[in-house]
Subunit: 249 residues, 2 copies
Amino acid sequence: MGKRTIKLTLAYDGTHFCGWQTQKQGERTVQKIVETALAELHNHEIKLYAAGRTDSGVHATGQVAHFHSGHRSLAPEQFTDAINSHLPHDVRVLKSEQVPESFHARFSAKARLYRYYLYSSPVGLPHYRRFCWRIRKILNINSLNALARPLVGSHDFTSFSSTKDPSTSKEREVFTSCFYTLGPFIVYEIRANAFLWKMVRTILGTIITLALQENTPDMMFDTLQAKDRSSAGPTAPARGLFLEGVRYG
Amino acid sequence: MGKRTIKLTLAYDGTHFCGWQTQKQGERTVQKIVETALAELHNHEIKLYAAGRTDSGVHATGQVAHFHSGHRSLAPEQFTDAINSHLPHDVRVLKSEQVPESFHARFSAKARLYRYYLYSSPVGLPHYRRFCWRIRKILNINSLNALARPLVGSHDFTSFSSTKDPSTSKEREVFTSCFYTLGPFIVYEIRANAFLWKMVRTILGTIITLALQENTPDMMFDTLQAKDRSSAGPTAPARGLFLEGVRYG
């Protein structure tokens, strides 16, 4: 029997992870923790590939990753419980399924969905402090949406990414960019074919800065046009950001 | 100027607290942490009285407490920010107000509202693991409500409380006892004039045990009638329980 390609849908609380990807020795990363679980299950090393390499402190409710398995006795859906029994409680496999050999979690992905949780209040919420960015001032959702709208479409997002992003082309296509209220939160939802490094957090840091200064949507156009990171606002904290889903095929 | 009575509404993440009340030296309790903040603000010791002495690991979004303050310069509503600046992020004052001298957070309370969060799924949610009890089996909300309903009214709740509860009378009046879905959760809501020690968690542990055994509501009647803790089920975990509000006057 040849190796099967297994697709995993993962959720994690990013608070105590140094992001997805293992870069330095000794860092606790999601990739390392799940690869360790896979190695325990297979009795040899397994390499895991993710759709999005989330940064330190960023959460996921719908990260997707794949690996090649020569495991002989587990049905595809049985990997869920089998892997979870080797994982700490801040990361869970939600679903496991067999996919064609050609599937690649990163390169086959057609779109990614991120959500960012804002809590706009003079006093913080103790239970949500790890999962949102609190803004002391009360934000106006119409103003936020006016600032978010110019990002929809294909644009060069150089202004809204880390200067260390290694991508050759900085053009990305944004399908959705909007704010809505959800319980006590204001949620920013952005869907795009792909994202540059720190793109969502730079967009959000810029929108909030402009909103607090009561700036107009023109400023978002100007920032896009500038193609210069220094024209944008600060990077929003990681703790409010969730990778919520990845679309394929 | 005499002392003012200040009422605080508090929220806390109970995960890293040994409950509300300081019992042993060296325990991190909510009472001790807030009393320390009050002492820093007043430059002398202040005693704080709560509506409900929540157990270790139990959360609050609407705990109420009061203290007597001789502080000369703060307006009642200014205590919120002043106390919060001395508190760690897992406990917050949501509101501060002046109340009549006769007000007592515990003895003036007419009703308390608790909610208990259940997550019924084969796989846990990493972000909510500290704030709910996960039940692997899928629960039926109609069956849960049939089991919850017999508790409404005035009853002797001896069966549903810790044998160490010191109250003379074990009679309490339950106004609401019901289950409903809220996002991914099943929430149990119970309102009563007052609660015995571990009452909500014993009720919930019993209902879940009976529901998983597909028992009928008669069993809840029988357990109430027995007036014996050993006739009830296990105590549900603290992490799903929230003191959500206290009603006065």
